[in-house]
């Protein structure tokens, strides 16, 4: 059975750090598969108008398609060029929860994310997505 590594990306150029590390690790491991995951921030407890609700399914499809084409596809292309087996997943939710959920569903061995330097008030109060992921994850997390 191959080793599965999850890479959490957010479309920033610094994603490369995590991607490069995961690529190196996968070459060292040998029989390894990378799963690139992008999480669209979404809370089921937000407030919306009737019109937004009526169009929500359509918007969700559009958001997923956009993220797949703009964020996931270029990363997969790069990994493919380096002969690394990889697939992509776009999902909605809280970043930490969603990465953890995908990792469980995929039976992954490790989650690799890059460090963020977000210093907003929200982060100070509730902690960053990375910090939350480290606390909640049931499998090893590597923060680059």
């Amino acid at each position: 059975m191959s080793t599965k590594l999850i890479i959490g990306v957010d479309g920033e150029s610094s994603d490369n750090r995590a991607i490069e590390f995961a690529s190196k690790l996968s070459t060292q491991i040998g029989n390894c598969e990378l799963i690139v995951v992008y999480v669209i921030e979404w809370s089921p407890f937000s407030f919306q108008t009737n019109e937004e609700n009526a169009e929500r399914h359509k918007r969700r499809e559009e958001e997923t398609e956009l993220a797949t084409n703009r964020i996931i596809a270029p990363v997969l292309k790069k990994l493919e060029a380096a002969n690394i087996k990889a697939s992509g997943i776009v999902t909605h939710g809280n970043v930490a929860d969603a990465l953890n959920r995908v990792a469980k569903e995929q039976n992954a061995d490790q989650i690799i994310v890059r460090r963020t330097s977000d210093a907003s008030i929200k982060t100070r109060i509730f902690g960053s997505s990375v910090a939350n992921l480290v606390m909640e994850s049931t499998i090893p997390v590597t923060v680059i």
Binding site: F45, Q48, N50, N53, R56
Partner: protein, 515 residues
């Protein structure tokens, strides 16, 4: 001319009009609008509120009470048996994680609530208590509890028979479940009833969902700033609503959607603070409510007067049986329509049993209702109880809160404006769905409705409370006439869904995703 320039021109001419119009001219314009309005809507209002033969009990109130009671018994007191399950659904315990990003149960409930929580809870309760006395509150709570079953039934049907279009959008509501459900059961007249419902829904959108809101928002603003002609408020509101629903400026609607829940929490919080400070009077207030419910405590119309007012205001506030919520709830993502029914039954509970009761308790405790110290009965002023400064509606609620927290009327003024605005936006959507059901989903059809909607805001703000409140009630209750009639034929479908769901819930087929 660019859009910005046009907008500027409109706004500047508006200010010019306001500054030039003398108070006398303005008042006469208000009076004219009022007279025409009262004459035009009078017969419709009289029919809806016609008393039962030989009594002074409006048939429509009996219609609602009987329906809500039948639904309660038919579904085996669903509102009490599945209350805990409804909470679990809202928390997302049964939501499939693969559906993340779709409309959640919480979101559908919150959106529907933003259309119902509002002036009905503030001004409506003020009217009910002023006319029916504190006893009206008891009947309001009863109506709220029974109404939960009505809401459950209509929202389940709303999700089951909604239209899901290829482009990923959804449309639902009584007009869809009446026509599709009747066809499925092989019954005639579904299409006719759906059309009739749509007509009443459009009138309801113009009445309770629009003019009543504009009218009370004007009352709230002029209560703070001093009296000025209603049409000025009307035009300002109409311009803002126009910008949102026609101009597509979603940011205003989005800000409102976020502020309204905060206002709701602040409102209930303030009521709790006042009740805590006056904790020694709570027992007395409940006594007034229970005694008044059956004796009327000398109120005009006695106990029947209290009952009518209680039921009327509750129905107007939580809209159970009216069908409007079914339109809002049908956007949810679920494979089980009945789950949205469970979630929706929380709506009358929050709206009527909690928020309306808070308002009524604060009014009762505040001493705004004048009673005769010798007899303990309320002093009558015409058909209603005499109040300090002769207040009724939103002014009575405002004065009652002001007696407890002196600066609260200002915050309440802002809350009323925000509630009015969010209810208008919600009802513009309900009305629009009924309109497009009748005239087809075209851009022109949508635009014509939206423009008409804005015109009615001005009329609503200019008309005096009497004719507007009567028409608002009449239009909303007319929706309930058609909706409830149709639900009687469709309720076996809901029963089937309920039995099937409960069986699968018990045998573990319905999975819980969160513990």
């Amino acid at each position: 001319m660019k859009l910005n320039q046009k907008l500027m021109l409109i706004i500047s001419s508006l200010f010019l009009m306001i500054s030039n119009a003398s108070a006398e001219q303005a008042t006469s314009l208000d009076a004219r609008v009022n007279e025409v309005f009262a004459n035009f809507t009078g017969p419709f209002v009289n029919f809806i509120f016609a008393p039962l033969y030989g009594t002074n009990f409006p048939w429509i109130v009996l219609w609602l009470v009987v329906a809500a009671s039948i639904f309660t018994v038919y579904f085996g007191f669903v509102q009490f048996r599945f209350f805990g399950h409804a909470i679990a659904l809202v928390k997302g315990d049964y939501s499939n994680p693969d559906d993340a990003g779709e409309v959640s149960h919480f979101q559908a409930l919150a959106t529907a609530l933003s259309g119902t929580v509002g002036l009905g809870n503030i001004a409506g309760v003020g009217v009910a208590v002023a006319i029916g006395g504190p006893g009206a509150t008891f009947w309001m709570i009863t109506a709220g509890l029974l109404g939960m079953a009505a809401k459950f039934t209509e929202c389940t049907l709303g999700v089951k028979y909604r239209n899901e279009y290829d482009n990923g959008t959804v449309s639902g509501g009584p007009m869809y479940y009446i026509s599709k459900g009747f066809k499925e059961r092989g019954l005639f007249g579904g299409k006719f009833l759906a059309v009739l419902f749509s007509i009443f829904c459009i009138l309801g959108a113009f009445g309770g969902g629009n003019m009543f809101q504009a009218n009370q928002a004007h009352a709230a603003i002029s209560g703070i700033t001093g009296d000025y002609p209603g049409w000025i408020t009307g035009i300002i509101f109409a311009v803002i609503v126009f910008v949102v629903i026609v101009g597509g400026v979603k940011s205003i609607a989005r800000v409102t959607e976020k502020i309204v829940p905060i206002m709701g929490v602040l409102y209930v919080g303030a009521a709790l603070v006042i009740l805590m400070v006056n904790y020694d009077k709570i027992g007395w207030a409940f006594n007034e409510i229970f005694t008044g419910a059956f004796t009327g405590l000398g109120v005009a119309g006695g106990f029947v007067g209290a009952l009518i007012q209680g039921f009327k205001r509750a129905a107007f506030s939580n809209e159970a049986g009216v069908g409007s919520a079914a339109i809002a709830h049908s956007a949810v993502k679920t494979k089980e329509p009945i789950t949205e029914g469970f979630v929706s039954l929380l709506e009358p509970l929050i709206d009527t049993v909690v928020i309306c009761t808070m308002t009524a308790l604060v009014i009762t405790i505040s001493g705004q209702l004048i009673s005769d110290p010798a007899t303990g009965l309320y002093v009558l002023d015409g058909a209603r109880i005499a109040t300090v400064d002769n207040n009724t509606g939103v002014a009575l609620t405002s004065a009652a809160f002001g007696a407890g927290i002196s600066w609260f009327p200002y915050l309440l003024g802002v809350a009323v404006i925000m509630f009015a605005f969010s209810t208008m936006i919600s009802w513009s959507y309900y009305g629009l769905k009924a309109w497009t059901y009748l005239f087809g989903e075209s851009k022109n059809a949508e635009l014509s409705f939206k423009i008409l909607f804005c015109i009615f805001i001005v009329i609503g703000a200019a008309a005096s409370l009497g004719p507007v409140i009567d028409f608002s009630d009449a239009a909303i209750f007319a929706m309930a006439v058609v909706n409830i009639f149709a639900i009687y034929f469709l309720m076996p479908i809901v029963k089937k869904e309920l039995v099937s769901y409960v069986t699968r819930l018990k045998n573990g087929e319905i999975k819980k995703y969160k513990n």
